[in-house]
Symmetry: C2
DNA sequence: TTGAAAGCGGTACCAG
DNA sequence: CTGGTACCGCTTTCAA
């Protein structure tokens, strides 16, 4: 790195001997400039390694080509693949992702949303629909399309792409109940800011209650999910409530640890205990027993979110898209 | 969303009846403004939901508080946790991440680097040290600190944080050789742009050659790694070369599929075939047999990269940090 | 402690 | 097809 000031439009204009805005046009509308001149301009650009200054461009054009993206985590691909697909979709329109990551820290969301908005994004995509009040206000006041992703089980500010997490919880529990399990528990990482997890838990409760099975045991910790967490929680849970015969896990990674705990406790899966995960980790199909889980279509959520952003920028109306998810039945529940 | 123009410093200045730059100072250096005035200004800011325009601010200050981050993938947390930790480190200095993802597409790197540089980042963190020539030129010409992450087995532009991937490949192979395996193979996703993977393969070759074991079999595909890919490649490989007794996998996720293939082929692991992965996927310890693998300290790489960026911005010299990695020995090789 | 004025590097509109 | 000229919204001297 050498710290001299980078070349500007003016530098290259001067070098070629034309005005600044001829150069500007050569870049944005090449065919409004004489081919020969254009060539000389391009040569100068190449030679000086000129890179346009989008701070200036965005300020002047009062639009930035930035899409703000706010997620709760990048860990273990919970949202990483959504961002991945979203970014790919946005790239087709030369839209740039400005990423912010709350890491499930409730105090961060407002701060990060402010930070993202300060770049005057042309749109914002954000995980969840349950934001602190001020966040919703800021998002609305920003005057740009807002796409709320992942959870659409409720009203959205502008547009939404995701699925209903209560329904997922219900499906997890109903599957277990259909398989003959009767003493269900819910287990996993549960952070205050993770409203989606609470909704899935709620769904589990609803299904259990509808089946007349009474209260479920719940074992959670506010730490990020991991196999070790799952093993610890399961071990403790089964010590306290040995009658439990089915465990709904808040993530596959946690379920991996639960399976390990059950192996150590010599409780057979699925004959004595059934286990359902959430998230469809690539490893879930490779465990023994393989793990029954919920497969949300993250790629679709990212892609559709990108498409909604683009549609909104083209003047289309806000809308809500439901993304697919399915229960993938494997060995851990096929009793 | 309502599309009226967002409030500016001028709007709030007018509302309070002071000049623009009094407001500006109230934000950046609160104690240079009379407390009472400051309160009225803050009230107006709150009321109008004012969010500063960083395009303007950055342009004016000729620095942006953006750190450009260029990765090759976000899929299955190969780099996601690096970004996660990097972002956390940068947040302490109010630095914002502008993320670009090449998805291992060789054609994208130059384009994305240009795009990132156009935001006049104060620094750039990028995966890898083997860039197309033009990318290196642009990065150097940008005149800001550049941190090359993940691979530091060679010269860096400015600073680097990572480890030597050739050494990793060597360690994988040597471990297998020490365990008594003799007919090694390398298997997995291998994309042109993934120079690190080639280096690991090279390391495997070096170790095998040093042990006088001759050529190794290689089974790769240019597609993203997955269990299915691993299973397919392993099945084919062992059909062609049934004498193979050890497989070095380019990622854990691929290794999961390899283990599945071996199970189906009724080849015992580790007694008949040894398997080593790379990446330390959380599930690796939960498989049966559990997977021996290489654990790179991704969190450290992200955190250290952030620290190097910050140090460089404080005027310190460029430097290279080696991050930890270790071979985690588990059941898949303990013959 | 506060204000006026000159940019930062582009874009957009209008004239030539 | 090309150049002149106001801005875009904020920061930064420099005075007051």
């Amino acid at each position: 790195m050498d710290s001299k000031a980078p070349p500007t439009l003016a530098s290259i204009a001067e070098r070629v001997g034309v005005s600044v805005n001829t150069v500007s046009r050569a870049l944005r509308a090449p065919n409004t400039v004489r081919p020969q001149l254009r060539q000389r301009i391009n040569a100068a650009i190449e030679e000086l390694n000129y890179v346009p200054n989008r701070l200036a461009g965005g300020l002047s054009a009062t639009r930035s080509d930035i899409v703000g993206v706010v997620v709760a985590s990048l860990y273990h691909s919970e949202f990483a693949s959504i961002v991945d697909a979203l970014q790919a979709a946005l790239l087709t329109q030369n839209l740039q992702v400005m990423l912010a990551n709350t890491r499930y820290d409730p105090d961060q969301e407002e701060r990060l949303v402010r930070s993202v908005l300060s770049w005057r994004p042309v749109a914002v995509a954000i995980v969840g629909i349950d934001h602190p009040a001020k966040v919703s206000v800021l998002l609305k006041a920003a005057g740009v399309p807002i796409v709320e992703m992942w959870d659409v089980g409720g009203p959205v500010i502008d547009s939404g792409v995701g699925f209903d997490h209560v329904a997922v919880g219900r499906a997890q529990a109903m599957h277990l109940i259909e398989r003959g399990y009767r003493r269900l528990a819910f287990l996993g990482s549960l952070r205050d800011n993770d409203r989606r997890a609470y909704k899935r838990l709620q769904g589990v409760r609803e299904a259990v209650s509808a089946a007349g099975l009474g209260e479920i045991a719940v074992a959670t910790m506010p730490h990020p999910g991991s196999p070790d967490l799952g093993e610890a929680l399961a071990t403790e849970l089964l010590a306290q409530s040995p009658e439990i015969d089915a465990i709904v896990c808040n993530s596959d990674v946690v379920a991996f640890g639960v399976l390990r705990a059950l192996r150590k406790l010599d409780r057979k899966v699925p004959s004595e205990v059934g286990v359902v995960g959430f998230g469809d980790n690539p490893a879930s199909s490779c465990l023994t027993p393989s793990l029954t889980t919920i497969r949300p279509d993250r790629e679709a959520i990212g892609r559709l979110s990108g498409e909604v952003v683009i549609a909104r920028l083209n003047g289309e109306e806000g809308r809500v898209c439901f993304a697919d998810w399915s229960l993938v039945e494997r060995e851990s529940t096929s009793s």
